[in-house]
Symmetry: C2
Subunit: 313 residues, 2 copies
């Protein structure tokens, strides 16, 4: 926000306003929007330099100005401000307090930076980087590594939990080593499905696309996409597993587990960021690696349970 | 690009220029920058409405204008244009052809859209979405699912190749089922490390941060970060695996494979996008799921080879 803007009283004429502008033009950041305030510095109108130039010199500002001013409160989130400026193609937007008093303006060049920063933040969080700035490029090895390690080590222990599920079913695995060949399929497929739906929803929340429609509708739609995607991938892998190993029941177990896991993953990929967003936290924090690890554990439980029930019953 | 801008000849006076503006102000998209062209419509100067307002009425435009105009060629990439506008805080930038002829201008509100679109594109590609727009929210289930399926199915077959590596080592696995408990660790750790370094480099390339420094230096730095991160994670998991299963050699194998795989993964996560960028392709196409799958195969080969060599020798 800058306080270097032009604010005038409404009883001036266009000619007087131009004179006032000429006197202050060099000191202010933006002269293309001129704000009109009353005695108590409350924002009552706005006009553009274009309006002023084309007005009759004797016309009063009260006639030139628009009284419906789109402004933001000083406590408005910067992402929300960026969305408004982008939506209306403004060069600047005024900032007011609860008493309508004009405090400053936010210019479009600041908004450019905000949009770029927020996008970088989303990309970093989605990929499990606790490091939110690209300035990182200037940091040393030690600083860069220590910023990445918390996630990496944390997720290793998540992977250990998935390993623990396999340990629990080690009897099943010993009598059917072939099950191990499909662990990557059962871990990767649902993980990728979750990441896709997560990216779509997180980006939609960031650009404001999702709020416009009912959030429940988005989740419900993702759930149906998940079931569809799960059925296709499950069928493909059921056939592939059967052709590869020649065991029909193995095909059934691999296909069924994959279908169920991918459906759940797509649903979680949309549900978790929306939930976190509702709690007022940046939805990108429900980052890809987190949901992927959660799905690793879930899909291993489904896979080995089904294998025990169907093949080894 | 818009062709609705104001271009004047340099021999006009400030007063004449203001009159010309008053006549055309309602028709043009932006009047805050006025471009100066010669008889052949070649761009020779620029001044702002602010310069014009504060100038003496009799002054000629030749005196007011700046002759060093930052412009873009009509073939310049939109990401590059966005970077220039953001860097200089311009409200618009002129577009010229190879003969310096003024073709139009690109305004900052178009740049806002470009920056937002490019960020969305990067996020979608990095998460393996072939669907590059958030408009996707308006599509039906069928369209949404079919756009995601190519990646999902393709990656499943990638996962199958990792499974094939395990199949190749099934003898090793049968005599040591405990190896299966660590497959998630060996798949997840390197995948996450690659995704982190990929996000940092892809974002750096998008914002122009990386081009400024030597690309080889970025890769070399990522390689060192990878070795550091690999050593830490490998040591942690070596101890954990030993404590969990009580087999010292298993700890050695898990730790060593993890350290090597994570180092390679971090290197690939920076090397592949830079390589792709050099080939003139969007680096985000070297998406997370792609490198993750590549690492799945690589780390399984390292893990089972080391297990065969060290534990079962």
């Amino acid at each position: 926000m800058t306080t270097e803007y032009v604010a005038l009283q409404k009883d001036l004429t266009a000619r007087q306003a131009i004179e006032a502008l000429r006197a202050t033009a060099r000191e202010v950041e933006i002269i293309y929007y001129i704000y009109v305030v009353n005695q108590r510095n409350q924002l009552t109108g706005v006009f553009s330099l274009r309006d002023l130039i084309t007005a009759e010199p004797g016309e009063s500002l009260e006639k030139i100005m628009q009284t419906r001013v789109i402004s933001v409160n000083v406590r408005t989130d910067q992402e929300e401000v960026a969305r408004l400026v982008a939506k209306y193609d403004f060069l600047a937007i005024p900032v007011i307090d609860d008493e309508q008093e004009l405090l400053g303006i936010i210019t479009v060049d600041d908004i450019l930076d905000v949009i770029e920063e927020e996008a970088t933040e989303d990309i970093m969080l989605l990929s499990g980087n606790t490091d939110l700035e690209v300035e990182e490029f200037e940091g040393g090895i030690w600083r860069r590594a220590t910023r990445r390690l918390p996630w990496l080590v944390g997720l290793l222990f998540g992977g250990l939990m998935a390993g623990n599920v396999i340990n629990f079913f080690s009897g099943t695995l010993e009598s059917l080593t072939v099950l191990a060949f499909f662990i990557h399929i059962l871990a990767g497929g649902p993980g990728n499905a979750a990441t896709q739906s997560l990216a779509v929803v997180v980006r939609g929340l960031a650009t404001g696309e999702v709020e416009r429609e009912d959030v429940l509708r988005v989740i419900w739609r993702e759930a149906r996409v998940g079931i569809f995607v799960g059925l296709v991938c499950g069928s493909v892998m059921a056939v592939t597993a059967y052709l590869w190993q020649g065991i029909p029941l193995l095909g059934l177990v691999v296909g069924l587990s994959l279908a169920v896991s991918m459906s759940i993953a797509t649903l979680l990929g949309s549900f978790i960021p929306v939930l976190i967003h509702r709690l007022g936290i940046d939805p990108a924090l429900a980052s890809g690696p987190f949901i992927t690890t959660l799905m690793d554990i879930t899909s291993m439980m489904i896979y080995f349970s089904l294998a025990s029930l169907i093949i080894l019953r």
